[in-house]
Amino acid sequence: MESYVVKKSNPIINIIVGIFLGIWALINLFPIYFMFTFSLKSNAEIFGENIIGLPKEWLWSNFTQALGTGNMVLYFVNSLFVTTMSIAISLMAAMMACYAITRIKWKLSKLTNAFFMLGLTIPLQASIVPVYVVMSRLHWLNKYTTLIIPYSAFALSMAILICTGFMVEIPMALDEAARIDGCGLFGTFFKIILPLMKPAVSTVGIYSYLQCWNEFMFANVFISDSKHRTLPVGIKALSGAYTTDWGPIGAALVIATFPTLIVYIFLSRKIQASFIAGAVKG
């Protein structure tokens, strides 16, 4: 590939680099491998002689136990519902706000955008006390919306940031053409802009998905009844209940993690791209 003369890199350094990258890959993969194997082992194997090997006997009953008595099915469905709703709400609100900010000319549009961008630096902890007090007074704790509303709010700023990036790419000529055809501002948004925002949907969706799926602090503080627990809180509860039985805990960890990892294997570039979009512009 290098047709011109350049200094050859030192082969010894190349080997060291290769070993370093290899070891770092192992350090990254080992905990994931470890989680998978102990989810299928009995205590005897985990505590005995077969700590890091593949399971001798594949104990799928750990999974039935985690899913059944461990309630992981419920927690999984809860997480899925809360996450999906939060993404949908924040995305819709973000696209509408973006439309008003980037495609309609008015004096305070820049300022409004800057206002929304404050949310990128504000930590989740900032609002937890008042939100908790208000929600508990309104008897609004322990519902799905207890989490959906704050999650949507906290996903909003990033969603607006990413959507703006995509929306300014759409030529204004399209809006003007639509206007000439008799489309109002509303019509233009729903018929012209929304269909063109599909790439933004996946980028924002991926970013918000991870934020909501893995969120722990609000979920831990706001949800005390087991019916509405999401996966992270469920896992904490489960590990408290099965302190001596590692297999089912391992199974629960796998259930919470592997769906994401499997999707990641197929969509790694897309997922990486959405993280880059979320940070580089911010």
Binding site: L21, Y99, S127, I128
Partner: protein, 305 residues
């Protein structure tokens, strides 16, 4: 004359319609944003000046909460702040250099192997911190954990610890997974920057006889500096906000030695019913996050000049 009036009227009508549209389109976003973020912060600032249990109206005490936060040792705020800053220090000086090194190495050539490495190194970012905490708890387990067993196997049994409960190693046991989890994240951001460096620029430098390391040092790193700045800000504010791993791995123990601001905040609400003090901690967190973000930005600007 009449025509002019009609035009004006129409324009006014159009302006009102436009204003209404803007309002309607902004409404859902503003409701969420103001309702859940901005208004609560305003309330937090106000309530941080009260002795308040969350239900009664509370008593106004001025800045007493702030003073107490720094002077009352039993609240452990100083400990928590120290821990957060230790986490921030190691994130900036261990995690980020490691991430930068990986990004530079992987950015040199777009081979299949490098792509695979990139994808593997990013994997931990996708895993919930709670899962990672549980996983490392199993690794640290004093009797059955992989770590102590490994030390036994290589005849270093004297290094064995009850990692999570030993005052000497408890904070470290939180630090290691924190660094482990997010190296991949920063690596990815920096990698994107490295890939954005003009290929011609690299080749020109190499033709001039620069080694790969020199190209990285004198060409690539200066160009990706803005990304490094973002990473430093994320690493520091992220450390200030730490909650999950502490809650899962040590619960703030032993003897509250590993508390962080967020766990103290939660303790104020649920163990002590001190909502005013909880608000004070919230406000301190916001202030610290913004202050560090500004400080880091200023430090990077200074260096450029």
């Amino acid at each position: 004359m009449n025509d002019d009036k009609r035009k004006k009227k129409e324009k006014k009508k159009a302006d009102i319609a436009r204003g209404l549209t803007i309002f309607v389109f902004l409404l859902p976003g503003l409701l969420l944003f103001v309702g859940i973020l901005i208004a609560p912060i305003a309330v937090s600032i106000d309530r941080s000046l009260y002795d308040w249990n969350g239900f009664s109206p509370g008593t106004f005490i001025g800045f007493n909460n702030y003073v107490e936060l720094f002077t009352n040792g039993s609240i452990k705020f100083m400990t928590s702040l120290k821990n957060a800053l230790i986490l921030a220090f190691f994130s900036v000086f261990v995690q980020l250099p490691l991430a930068l090194l990986l990004a530079l190495l992987l950015g040199r050539a777009e081979t299949r192997l490098n792509r695979a490495y990139l994808s593997i190194f990013f994997m931990p970012v996708l895993i919930s911190t709670v899962v990672i905490g549980q996983l490392w708890l199993k690794i640290y387990n004093p009797d059955y954990g992989v770590l102590n067993r490994f030390l036994d196997a290589v005849n270093l049994g004297q290094l064995k610890h009850i990692w999570v409960a030993d005052p000497k190693t408890a904070l470290g046991s939180i630090l290691v997974p924190t660094i482990w989890q997010y190296v991949g994240y920063h690596m990815l951001l920096m990698y994107a920057g490295v890939k954005g460096v003009d290929i011609d620029l690299r080749e020109a430098a190499m033709l001039d006889g620069a080694t790969k390391w020199q190209v990285d040092r004198y060409v690539v790193i200066p160009i990706i500096k803005p990304i490094i700045r973002v990473s430093v800000i994320f690493a520091v504010t992220g450390s200030l906000k730490t909650y999950d791993l502490v809650r899962i791995i040590t619960e703030g123990g032993p003897f509250q030695m590993t508390e962080v601001p967020s766990t103290i905040l939660e303790n104020m609400l649920f163990l002590r019913n001190r909502y005013g003090m909880g608000s004070t901690i919230s406000v301190m967190l916001i202030l610290l996050c913004f202050a560090f973000a500004l400080l880091i930005t200023a430090a990077f600007r200074e260096k450029d000049e």
